[in-house]
Symmetry: C2
Subunit: 514 residues, 2 copies
């Protein structure tokens, strides 16, 4: 059967197990779009701006455990989605970007949309190829799918000049095997065991695959047997947590807090995560919370099999007994004024079994994570790369991946405005997402940062951090995109709205005025 | 007086004549923000997403005739604003981007927001520097301002690691001279004159600086004396036009139309614009509308002084008389159903003197430009790089540059959703902008493109091009961001709303359901 390059692409993605595509197509992608009609099986989800598309693909992969495809239009379309690709890169997210571009022979004419597509892709992808013929599209797509899924996961970007899509000669490629994650080096496990036995104060830092319930439990029995402490990296793609699972805190964001917390440790063992680093440099503050004289040991890197590694370490330590975790949910709703503590209590109480939390609550939300250790079992997703505008898209993609689970997006107002368009996709796909916007009507985090630089901000500076004048009405924005919503100014209202939203199908938005 | 790098930056920008800054700052820009309080004179305008910031800086420069600064946050912030930088690049827009970034000594630690900022900048800027000390910030800023304004204008990007902003030692640099635009090569003018005298059918294509009223008039007297035709490039940063000025059409976007129009010409003379090129390649269609056997002559490139060049050409041709242009406005409002022709008539009738049109009306708006040759004198701004999402930001920046002029943004619905956040800035700054959204609730241009690829679209393909389900309510979106608005389903309603909006202060949005 003769087919064009675009058809071979869709067939190959499906053969490789990729059946979901987040898309914002343009002219150069029309052969891919046309192929969707002829090749059944690919679910396509439209986003109105590309940072919604890429952020949703990130959220999807974190929950589905396999990559989605994206469909993006030329260099500028890739640029529009770049920030959430950056977040995905920092979460080691599996993703296959398909970026349509100028035809091979048209590129030298420098038509208006022509840009350095490959350069943009390379800065944010672990794997990049530009096809030059229809014949190779299938083979390259299969390699892209393989690259994306090779541990610890990466963003693979396949650039498709339009003639490679419309020309005949497409060849479907078979699924390629995914290499197993490498096991930890035995000497690295031995060294970790020795450090844990030497009596010095030790911190075990978990990241990536070490943050699933199983390895977290293993880390806790290791800690209980050796007196070490366990913590998670500051920002993580997915943490399995909640009732019945061992609680694990995260390294705090504020520099003074993280430095203060880690200064007690003489030894730091990294399991699946790079050395902790402060988010930004500040004058006369360290760049890492790890004490300068602490011994740092990399037991595993992100690409290793963290489950195997922690089991091996437990073995090395004489297989200490599992420790039951203590603590139970305090089922009490927050009352009165909407505060971070009050909402944290409500969240811990109302969170349904198996929920997914997409957390971009920034300053207001710093209490939410520690307060929900003993909520119903759930997954917690962070915006991992610090590029704000991740929350709404992450929630959207997670809901596509898990139609039987409720997604709760804890969302700061300033950050929400970067990708507010994602609400439309939630309405269109009728996704079970509750978005709670925490409207403080300012870039609160930056007011803190301005204080950190020693400034006593005047009117001009404060104007740059103020989201009032005019106040944004998120309920109107939401309704304008087909998502019903309501305002809450007290915890009582917020409790009712949140509980109600969790019991209905489809998306709902609550703007909490704080 | 001792000052830090950030203060020297603000002082130097002001000394260089740059007194307007579109901003979306983050932590690494807090010293710049703090400096705004201490250094008076810089007007800062906040955008809620970076593509609003960069597109507004583009619109500002096109109207002000001088650059604005932007303030962007690290690689992801630059990426968010990249698409409208791409549009600005294609318009040869003057702009000075200030991009804050990780401190020089913090970058090697690869903190989460660390990215290839310089690579992103280089792909879209004519000039890029990364400062390494506070001492050099002022000098580099002065060179950036000079580079941005060197003909034909470019995007200059200055990357500022945060320690170069907070360290003391800043030195204010004086304004650097802007080199004059080069005059046309005399032999290039002579060759143009010879071609225009040889009796062959000739087309003069104008771009960039040749599209101001003066050079357009000169082009018309040259054409009248020689029998040549005059046309503008397909998409232009700014065209001065309207009553009392000579009309000039643009090369049409659709490939068949542009090829059909240009096939009659044996000679094509380029004045300030590159060789015309088709926007995208299509199977078995040419890449340029210029006939393969036509003689192409580059009289001037975009950086040349187009005013001088056309005057020199007229001289060479014996100084032909100015021709009065014919044609007068037909002052008749469109009636009944909202069609492209009906709205074009209304626009031609109601457009106030000295208006600025920010045109991102895409498919529905193709009749607007030809129908308004004889409207009141105005400037017409196109989205020049084909990256959609330019219209709302362009209008915003143009209104900042010209507070005494009305801006009318003709805006397709699909494109509007890429940078809808710009409405908030319009409300905050109380800008005199009327936005008319043409809601066809689909990506109409792509439905045409899908037909071009020969596809008979089925349900799955059409879903990717459909903006209904749910319909977007642009009035709710607008009101949610503080811009009042109303719907129109007939020309009578649209006429009333448009006329009313032109007579009020501040922004207004009309959603025309078409």
């Amino acid at each position: 059967m003769s087919m064009n390059g675009a058809e071979s692409l869709v067939h190959t993605l499906l053969a490789s197990g990729i059946d979901t595509c987040f898309a914002n197509p343009g002219t150069s992608e029309m052969h891919f779009v046309a192929a969707l009609d002829r090749v059944p099986g690919m679910r396509c989800i439209l986003g109105l701006q590309e940072n919604v598309v890429t952020g949703a693909a990130d959220g999807y992969a974190r929950i589905a455990g396999k990559p989605a495809a994206t469909l993006l239009h030329c260099g500028p379309g890739l640029a529009n989605g770049w920030a959430n690709l950056h977040n995905g890169r920092r979460a080691n997210t599996m993703m296959v970007n398909c970026v349509g571009d100028q035809a091979t022979y048209h590129r030298p004419l420098d038509a208006p949309l022509t840009a350095d597509t490959e350069g943009l892709a390379r800065a944010v992808s672990g794997w990049v190829r530009t096809c030059t013929t229809a014949e190779e599209v299938g083979a390259q797509a299969a390699v892209a799918a393989q690259a994306a899924q090779t541990s610890p996961g990466t963003i693979a970007t396949l650039i498709l000049p339009s003639d490679t899509c419309w020309n005949d000669g497409g060849v479907v490629a078979a699924r390629l095997p995914i290499p197993a994650a490498p096991t930890a080096a035995p000497h690295a496990v031995k060294i970790a065991a020795e450090l844990l036995r030497n009596g010095k104060k030790t911190l075990i830092v978990l990241g990536n695959g070490a943050l699933r319930a199983g390895p977290v439990a293993d880390a806790h029995r290791i800690a209980a047997a050796t007196g070490a402490d366990v913590i998670a990296a500051g920002s993580n793609g997915r943490v399995e947590r909640g009732r019945g699972r061992h609680p694990v805190n995260r390294i705090p964001y504020p520099v003074d807090q993280s430095v203060g917390l880690l200064k007690q440790y003489a030894q730091v063992i990294l399991v699946g995560t790079p050395k902790p680093v402060i988010f930004f440099a500040y004058p006369n503050k360290p760049g890492t919370p790890v004490p300068a004289d602490a011994q740092l040991h990399v037991m595993t890197r992100p690409e290793h099999d963290q489950v195997q590694a922690l089991a091996a370490l437990a073995d090395e330590l004489g297989n200490p007994a599992h420790v039951p975790h203590t603590g139970a949910a305090t089922a009490e709703l927050g009352r009165g004024k909407i505060t971070t503590e009050a909402f944290a209590a409500t969240l811990a109480t109302l969170m349904p079994e198996n929920a997914i939390i997409a957390d971009e609550s920034v300053t207001f939300g710093r209490a939410f994570f520690p307060a929900t250790h003993h909520a119903a079992p759930h997954d917690w997703l962070n915006v991992t790369g610090g590029a704000i505008g991740g929350g709404i898209p992450l929630a959207t993609g997670a809901a596509i991946a898990a139609p039987d689970r409720r997604v709760i997006n804890l969302q700061a107002d300033g950050s929400a405005m970067y990708t507010i368009q994602g609400l439309w996709t939630q309405a269109r796909e009728n996704l079970d997402i509750t978005t709670v916007i925490f409207s403080n009507r300012k870039y609160q985090i930056l007011i803190g940062e301005l204080a950190n630089v020693g400034a006593n901000p005047g009117r001009t500076a404060m104007d740059m951090l103020d989201l009032g004048n005019p106040d944004i009405d998120f309920v109107k924005l939401s309704e304008g995109m087909g998502v019903p919503g309501a305002h809450a100014t007290t915890m009582e209202q917020l409790n009712d709205l949140l509980a109600g939203s969790l019991n209905r199908k489809g998306p709902f938005l609550i703007e909490a005025i704080i």
